[in-house]
Symmetry: D2
């Protein structure tokens, strides 16, 4: 299931590489984190004198070539993949954000969402500080630029103030003249790990799976509320903010992270198979074959099939080359609809009773057409099984999935959803089943399922960015 | 398994759409045929007065937008996806090729390879005809431009002469002022089908699966040696060349075509599962789990697992966003190698005896690193199973897979290949097993496996294109 | 006076440079010939094995950079600047045109216009030769590609046939594998000169002034009807076509060529001053100051002022940075009109009686606004003097200036033109005066003034190019 | 004479246009001010709700098209042309600079140079304000964003503080949500005028000549130290800073401004003719003809010729299409040198004694090659006359012409300069003669000639911009 390009679960990476160019492993880290954001990519670096930056719209392999990567000099670098958000795609929103401060360059790459960004922004505006964008990342940047006292390292003091003032989700990598800093908010909403580079030096990345691509071995997860300062000599951990109840986003397990990533000690793929297996136990179906929505729900479907003792099959083929096309179908073509993205396999489906497993349902736009596709290919029955509970509440911590009204499970009861998507039966995994599959009952943020937000959120309209245009 | 960007199995499409723009369904057809060629794309159209064309490098969604699609006016259109070949990627090689002739515009989109292109080209050059490229498609174009006698429709007469003179593989769609023509060489090496458009009119495409995306229902396959002329009134079939023994490329079943395509009445996905099942019967393995090389060998692996009574699992994750990156890893990064493209899942592989199923092995560059990846993730044993026979002979009919010396099965014996890739055991499907899985013993070209070419080929060096540059 | 982007007086250049890259001096030659065409530029080269080409839309400095010039290898090169013509600007019309022939590569760069292009094109089409464009340059190219007999050098034989068949204006440089050829039609409508390169080798260019920029000393003009073959050993002149009465375009003197060019032994700037002086003698004015339309009529105005004993002044300033802007003025701005291009100087014009000298009037669109500008700046009287006779007849030899109906002097009598442009008086130079200023009564084509065309022309509509689009 | 791309005399424009789009007349104003800066162009606009911006590298006609101009909505707009400076050309330095403040959007377009930018920047950095560039324009922007008290209009209060703190040259147009502001520093170094738009509303521009192109009639010059606030209702003048001795840059008369501009009541072209006439009286030459360096010194040469009773002639032709070419000549071509830009006319120069008039000499790189060109074309004697005094001192007010050591008149005495350029004689206009020609002895900044700076300047190295890269 795709969230429809609405969430902001970006990817961040950073590296300090004594004796070689840091931007290069950061590029490969962004490459491995491409699934976390495809709208824009950027890298900032420092050679101890100047800071260098290149950003662009599109995937990381489109944004970077040797000609623009080579000038990103120095042994320190950070990078960012940006997810598509609502509104116009603009270069000005690409990260890292970079400014010159009295302490030298400062660049910020941010994964998450501040819930009090609006109030902080207003406070800074009133202090006479001008903003170049409407993003909460710039709020973080401007706050970090302000002088602070109370630590040997002035950046640690500023990060301390940030953690005292900012609320919500922020996994950050910062670049300064002398060091990079990797830090997570006190709740630990978004993941962030540190690894040791085989060629010497240290790296940070949103997911452990990216470390291998950067040439690093996983070392440890950045603890919520703590900061890892990395320079040419090594790293040092600062515990900056008091511990809050941990709240790692459970949706990273369900859908967002790469299957080969390990979060809090658990391999994501294995969790997904267990989600499917729990679902099979809770909601069996009298069927002939189990089909997953490719590619995100294949693991869940395999787990379901195994636990249910049913054969797993590829019943839907996903177009590997799908991408943004701006060509509008005419009326005669419009009915092809979802077939641009998925095609059903008659040999698998014809005359079968099919269990269709999806990882989650958010808006409910995709499930209906998929059920129809299966029926057109001859499926006799379609039993839709969803390997997570109903999504009834919006996310304010960086998975900007939808507003209340857009969430189908907020608007409709189970039977109405079943009728809407046209399935013969429909079942979601229970909340308890999800937690059993993950393997923990604590330390997770499951607000989108439960409505229990780990911190107070004011669901106010975001402040409008009044600046429009490139440059 | 990937052929490494060396073959030329392009995709072609065409449409005649009374009352609406033909280029639009052709765009969607090319979109569905993207797997057949990603180097370049192009569409030519005719409104009965003038011909219009737009071509560009890259995938079809990159080449086309509303601004360049809209001017492709008229109720007739053809299009082409080009596969990456050796040498520089040049716009001049993008298709369709278009010229003005005494009968009006002529555009050609070609899938295949002429084996006597060199001799035909020389003959035309000696007649004083200048060439703009070194491609065999231009040989076809120039030959079709020459006057011919002997038919009511002058284009049919010219196509007749083409079929009398040209040898090798050619599935073509032609655009003229009044009609489009879809035709296959007398052997039928490459597929080509015709469908009826739901909005009225007719379409042609390399694969049946593309017809749905064009908004058409499959009608019939173009017979080898015959031409289908389509105009605003409907279609008419001309049997132009005497029947030769049919020789549909078996590799389309093994790897090349989309799984949801039906070739000669057989769904490709179903054939692939049977290939896996035959392989399981011929070459069982004492193992715990079956893993396919994603995405092309998943069906084969599912068939193997089912027949072997072993669990199928996702043991390798493929980076969905892989694409051409021109960034060079430095020495420290170079060891990451294949991990950019695939990552192994420890939870599936650790301490297991694994059957790794691939669809085919051509050069043998990928299998070794994959076996190593599995072992690094903890696999105790790796048994490589290949769901087709050893590829020992080059293709001269458009799958320009490699030269003799590049084919690992031409150079090495089975045991040497096993040692080279580092597997605990290695087995290929037998030739007979492959034919059983496909379901026919006749009508196929299996020269790359058997060395039995359906027509005499002179493996001469291709004539050098002496023209270099854009424009 | 500007002809409004309608004529096709392109620029051509070529060089053979033993021991160094020929494309480089050709680039600088095109740079010096930029005034002859700004729509597109291109260079083709040969290193004796392959031919290389790069073309693009825009000025030569926009089209070329080191990255695309460097690959144009070899000691032989030719180039072309294209003038803006009616209709869409398309890359496909950029020159040189290049094809592979049985004798190796052939590239053509053409300045001029064939008057029988339509008949020749039809003949070639009927022979089965396909065309990629609607240009007469491709007619030349296709004709040259056909085998011919009767000379030691097969290209000389083909050029001989071209000269026998083609009618109209063509100054050409051709590139083959072994040599370049510079040739002029038997009338010599368009200029073409040869020079000796200081670094060794020989160069050809449309105008002598370009030779200096190419690093060459002028050697001789290419004689009408003759061909200069240049290879690494030197040059050889072939007299191929019988002499026709010479007909060098007189408009090259009046407006088109660079002032520092020498045509048939006469410096263009000096001729222009004499045109102004003759005009002063024929059409004096009771005035205070002489102003020329910058920049093309400054020399004429200086000649007028000197002969008339009146002070010359800069009364109109031309915007040096004018270029193609696609921004539409709104209604309030539309009245600024010609002020984007010219501004009047009040200190020069206020309360003065002004002689405004222009080199020629073709359509009459510019003169009226200029006269109004002068009056707005305070000029008491404006006496328009035109340093050439009325243009009453279209050009069919490559200065595609306008159709009959667009020529103001074809439609209106002198007094009506004066009233139309709003001048206090108006006078053209007489035909005899023009010839006196040029210094010859023979050897010129003055058909646009006199209607006496040196060869029969059929003013038929040009054949429509039925191919539209890039690539 | 060209200053070699070193100075920063940019152009600014602004408009308030009730009922129509303001960005359109601003575009045409920038077009008319193109001579003041060709490196980059940009426009920012406001519709009372949001601010819109588009900037790009290159000339204004290259940066803007209908697609990017149309979205610049609203009745308020400002624009900027940027001059090429040392160092890399970067989009980040393009203006206007735009930020969101607590009072809404603020955009700044700046012509000039602050002499205390470094100290102000450090003060702001220490206050915790981050900078996105190293430009003094951002210093102005950040200073204006800080809250200030003491006026009804908070922007007037902020501008008052700016004028109290900033030293040096600044002619600014500011854009806010409700109004645009046009202001000049208390010395009035750089010009700025206001005009009334014919379609209603008011416009501001660096030079009066641009007003006509914007569709406006000149109304008044912005007084030094005052601010003109323009909104939909009309304009209001605020005298904000106490009067300082006026110091309009005399180089605007000598070279920089357009000839049709009126500065402090004097038409620039007329001043230039008087500069030439004064020079003729001070430094006559026994010669046959007077030639100016085109195009900038043509007026000076005409004035010289008239006063000296010698004929004026076009002896040098300037390539109108010169532009940035990045093609390197090879050794054989390198000797063509200045001929890319100028060509001499033998008919004017051969065997003549020539007076060559230039407007000024800064570095002395161009004069020598020009003198050689004249001699190569046959000039018997070359007498170089410079229509301004020797430039011995650098400019700190925005004409960043050169450092001390680069100024040839700082390094060498008159006779040594003459020998360096190879002229038969050399004379500069005297300081008194220049003032006579301008027509005033007060109110000018002539520091580059006299060394008398109107305010204390610290010739310190500019602070390095430590941020490199786009985006």
């Amino acid at each position: 299931m795709r969230l429809g390009g609405m969430h902001e679960a970006c990817g961040v990476a950073g590296a300090v590489t004594p004796g070689r160019q840091a931007a290069r492993p950061v590029f490969f880290g962004l490459f491995a984190l491409q699934h976390r954001g495809q709208e824009a990519a950027g890298i900032a670096s420092s050679d101890g004198r100047a800071a260098y930056i290149h950003k662009g719209l599109g995937r990381v392999a489109q944004v970077f070539d040797e000609d623009n990567l080579r000038p990103l000099a120095g042994e320190l670098a950070i990078g960012h993949n940006r997810y598509s958000t609502t509104g116009a795609t603009q270069l000005r929103n690409a990260q890292p954000h970079l400014v010159e401060t009295v302490l030298g360059p400062l660049a910020v790459a941010h994964n998450g969402n501040l819930t009090n960004a609006r109030a902080l922004r207003r406070e800074l505006l009133e202090a006479g500080i001008g903003f170049s964008s409407g993003s909460d990342t710039e709020v973080i940047l401007r706050l970090l630029a302000l002088p602070a006292e109370g630590s040997e390292d002035p950046w640690i003091a500023r990060i301390g103030r940030l953690m005292a003032r900012a609320e919500g989700a922020y996994a950050l990598v910062l670049l300064t003249r002398e060091a990079i800093y990797a830090l997570r908010d006190p709740w630990g909403f978004r993941p962030l790990v540190v690894g040791e580079l085989e060629g010497g030096g240290w790296a940070a990345a949103s997911e452990s799976s990216a470390l291998a691509t950067m040439g690093a071995r996983p070392a440890f997860e950045v603890e919520p509320g703590s900061v890892v300062r990395i320079d040419r000599e090594g790293y040092r951990v600062h515990e900056v903010a008091a511990g809050r109840p941990r709240a790692l986003c459970v949706f990273e397990y369900v859908y967002f992270a790469r299957p080969d990533t390990v979060l809090a000690g658990r391999e994501v793929h294995a969790v997904r198979r267990r989600l499917g297996a729990e679902l099979a136990r809770e909601a069996p179906a009298d069927a002939d074959v189990v089909v997953g929505v490719p590619d995100s729900a294949t693991a869940h479907a395999l787990g379901y099939a195994e636990a249910a003792g049913l054969p797993f099959a590829e019943g839907l083929i996903k177009n590997r080359y799908i991408g943004r096309t701006f060509i509008e179908p005419d009326d005669a073509l419009r009915k092809t609809g979802v077939r641009l993205k998925y095609t059903p396999l008659a040999s698998v489906l014809a005359d079968r009773r099919v269990v269709l497993v999806d990882d989650s349902i958010v808006r409910g736009n995709t499930a209906g057409p998929l059920v129809r596709l299966l029926r057109e290919a001859g499926a006799r029955e379609v039993h839709l099984r969803v390997a997570s509970p109903p999504v009834r509440h919006p996310c304010f911590m960086g998975l900007d999935m939808a507003t209340h009204d857009e969430l189908i499970a907020h608007r409709l009861e189970l039977e109405a959803i079943r009728a809407h998507v046209g399935a013969d039966s429909l079942a979601y995994l229970s909340h308890a089943g999800m937690l059993r599959a993950v393997g923990t009952r604590t330390g997770l943020c499951d607000a989108c399922f439960s409505g229990r937000y780990p911190l107070a959120v004011e669901p106010a309209a975001p402040e409008e960015d009044a600046l429009v245009g490139e440059g």
